[in-house]
C-alpha cells in the first residue's frame, strides 16, 4: 500500500542521505553529494526529469526522490525523516512541517513554483458528451470526487460551490489517482482531477476544461528544510526547479506557472 511504500522510500532516503551528506560540503563551494527531495506524487514524472537535468548540470551530485501524498510526506518530515527539500501539492502541508515543534521546519519563505488546476476527466473521446460541471448532475451519470480531506477534494468542493452545482458522487476517493483509476476502468463516467493527471493518463482519458476551476487552483510550494543534511545542494535544487528549463518541463506536464 502506498503509505508503507513511502515509509520504505523514506528509509531508503535516510540511508542514502546518511551516506551522501558528508560529500556535500567537500567539493569546494560547488554542489555535490546527495540531495534528498520529498515531493508530492503528482510531481513524479516531471521531477524525475528535472532531477536528471540537475545531476547533469552538477556532476558529483545525486538526487534521491521520495514521492508520496503531501500529507504523508509532511508526517514523515515531522517524525524526523532527513529530507533536504519538500515540494508539496498544497501550502498547508508545508506549513505543517514549519510549525511542528520546530523539528524540521522550512528554512526561508516557501516559494510557489507551480500551480495545478482541476479538469473533468472522462473516458477517451468523451462518450457521455460532458461539457460542464452541471452536466455531471445528469441522472445515471456516475461521478467520482476526491474526499474533502485531500487537496483535490477541497478544490473540487470550491469549484462546485463556485458553479452552484450540487452533485452526489458515488465515491469520495482518498487520492486523485484513485479517482482517475475509476475513470480509466470505466466504473465512473467522470471525475474531477488535476489537469496534470489527465495528461499523464492520455490517451485513455480525455480532459474537459471548465471555467469554475479558476476558483480552485492549487499552489505548489517548495522549500529547503531547516535540518537539511545538504543545504548547499538543496538550495541549488530549488533554484533549478524555478529555472526556465524546469518550468518548461512542468508546463509540458500540464502545470501552470505561478
Amino acid at each position: 500500500m502506498r503509505p508503507r511504500a513511502s515509509v520504505v522510500a523514506g528509509a531508503v532516503a535516510l540511508v542514502l542521505a546518511g551516506c551522501g551528506a558528508p560529500g556535500g560540503e567537500a567539493a569546494g563551494g560547488g554542489v555535490a553529494g546527495t540531495v534528498t527531495v520529498f515531493a508530492a506524487a503528482s510531481l513524479t514524472a516531471s521531477f524525475d526529469r528535472i532531477g536528471r537535468d540537475f545531476e547533469a548540470a552538477h556532476p558529483g551530485s545525486t538526487v534521491v526522490f521520495n514521492f508520496a501524498g503531501s500529507s504523508a510526506l509532511a508526517t514523515q518530515i515531522t517524525e524526523g525523516a532527513p529530507a533536504d527539500v519538500f515540494a508539496s501539492a498544497a501550502p498547508q502541508h508545508l506549513a505543517a512541517v514549519t510549525t511542528a515543534d520546530g523539528v524540521n521546519g522550512a528554512a526561508g519563505t516557501p516559494a510557489v513554483f507551480v500551480r495545478n488546476q482541476l479538469v473533468i476527466a472522462v473516458a477517451a473521446g468523451n462518450p457521455e458528451g460532458v461539457r460542464s460541471l452541471s452536466d455531471l448532475t445528469r441522472p445515471g451519470l456516475k461521478v467520482a470526487l476526491c474526499a474533502e480531506q485531500v487537496p483535490c477534494g477541497s478544490a473540487a468542493r470550491r469549484a462546485l460551490d463556485a458553479a452552484g452545482v450540487t452533485l452526489t458522487p458515488v465515491t469520495l476517493e482518498a487520492d486523485v489517482r484513485g479517482a482517475l483509476a475509476k475513470v480509466r476502468l470505466g466504473e465512473v463516467d467522470a471525475a474531477l482531477v488535476y489537469r496534470t493527471d489527465t495528461r499523464a493518463a492520455a490517451p485513455d482519458v480525455t480532459a474537459v476544461e471548465f471555467p469554475e476551476s479558476a476558483q480552485a487552483v492549487n499552489d505548489y510550494p517548495i522549500a529547503v528544510l531547516a535540518d537539511a543534511p545538504n543545504p548547499t545542494a538543496a538550495h541549488a535544487f530549488v533554484a533549478h526547479v524555478r529555472s526556465a528549463q524546469s518550468q518548461a518541463v512542468l508546463t509540458e506536464a500540464g502545470f501552470q506557472a505561478p
Partner: protein, 282 residues
C-alpha cells in the same frame, strides 16, 4: 457435539496426566527471549498509539455521527464477509483436505493468491471481474441491473476476497490434523456423508474452525486496499473504519489515532467475548 464424547477421545492426551504439564523445569531461555522480543515487536506500535492518544477529546470524537456510521458499517460488513467465507470456505477446505484430485496442489496455491496480492491490486482485479465493464459485472448490470462497485455488498465482496484464505487454511489444517477414525466410525454406524460432515467433522474441527473464523473476521475488519479500490469511499454506504482512519490521517493525526483505537477496542472486546463463549482453549 455429543458424538465426539467418545471413549476414544484424545488418545494422546490420555497419556498425559494433568499434573505433569510443568515437568522439566522452567521455560528455556532460547525460547523465552525471542518470544518476549516478538511480543514487544507486536505491541510496541500499539503503545506508540496509546502514548499519542488525545484522551480529553475521546468522548466527543466517539459521538461524532460519522464515526458511529463507519463503525456500524465495519462490524456489519466484516460479519457478513465472515459468514460468506464460512459458507464457501469450509467446503473448500474440506475438499482440499479430504479429496484426492489432480491439481490439488495448484488449487491450494490458488487459494493463497489473495494473501500475496497487494490488496489494492485485489480491488482492481475484483473490478475487472465484477465491475461495470467486468467479465461478470457487465452481464449482471445489463441483465439483472445489479452493480457491485460503490455498494455495501461490494464492501462485503472485497473483504471476503481478502479474508477467505485465512479461514480456508486454518480449517484445512484442522481437518488434516483431525482423527479420521471418528468419521469412519460414524459411516460404519450408518451415518450418511452429509450427516457425518455436520455431526462429526465440523464439531471435531471446532477450535480450528473458530480460529479461522476469528482470523477471517479480524482481517475483514481491518481491510482497506481492496475495499477502497473496489467499493470506493462513501460515508454510510462504503466508508468502513479503516477508510475513515486513512482519510482522517490526511488532516488530523489525532483523529486517526482515536478512530484506530475505537476499532481496536471494539474488536478486542468482541473477540474476547466470543472466546469465553465459543472457543474452548485447552
Amino acid at each position: 457435539m455429543t458424538l465426539i464424547e467418545h471413549p476414544l477421545r484424545r488418545p494422546a492426551g490420555s497419556r498425559r496426566p494433568r499434573g505433569s504439564r510443568r515437568r522439566g523445569g522452567g521455560v528455556p531461555v532460547a525460547l523465552l527471549l525471542p518470544a518476549l522480543l516478538g511480543l514487544a515487536f507486536l505491541t510496541l506500535p500499539l503503545i506508540g498509539l496509546l502514548a499519542r492518544t488525545p484522551w480529553s477529546t475521546l468522548p466527543q470524537r466517539l459521538t461524532e455521527p460519522g464515526v458511529l456510521a463507519a463503525l456500524r458499517l465495519s462490524l456489519l460488513t466484516a460479519t457478513l464477509a465472515t459468514l460468506l467465507c464460512l459458507l464457501l470456505g469450509v467446503p473448500l477446505a474440506w475438499l482440499l483436505a479430504r479429496l484426492e484430485f489432480p491439481g490439488r496442489r495448484l488449487v491450494r496455491a490458488l487459494v493463497t493468491v489473495p494473501l500475496v496480492l497487494p490488496p489494492v491490486v485485489g480491488g482492481v482485479a475484483l473490478l475487472l471481474v465484477f465491475g461495470r465493464r467486468g467479465l461478470i459485472g457487465g452481464w449482471l448490470d445489463q441483465t439483472l441491473g445489479i452493480t457491485l462497485p460503490f455498494t455495501t455488498t461490494g464492501v462485503v465482496f472485497a473483504e471476503a476476497f481478502v479474508a477467505m484464505p485465512f479461514l480456508v487454511i486454518a480449517v484445512e489444517g484442522a481437518l488434516r490434523g483431525a482423527d479420521r477414525r471418528y468419521e469412519e466410525a460414524a459411516a460404519t454406524l450408518g451415518a450418511g456423508r452429509w450427516t457425518t460432515f455436520t455431526h462429526v467433522t465440523v464439531p471435531l474441527v471446532g477450535p480450528g474452525l473458530a480460529a479461522g473464523a476469528v482470523l477471517c473476521w479480524a482481517r475483514a475488519l481491518g481491510e482497506f486496499g481492496a475495499t477502497i479500490t473496489f467499493a470506493g469511499n462513501y460515508p454510510g454506504r462504503t466508508q468502513t473504519m479503516p477508510l475513515a482512519v486513512y482519510l482522517a490521517l490526511e488532516t488530523d493525526v489525532e483523529a486517526a489515532i482515536v478512530l484506530s483505537l475505537i476499532l481496536l477496542v471494539v474488536s478486542v472486546v468482541i473477540l474476547a467475548g466470543l472466546r469465553d463463549r465459543w472457543i474452548s482453549t485447552p
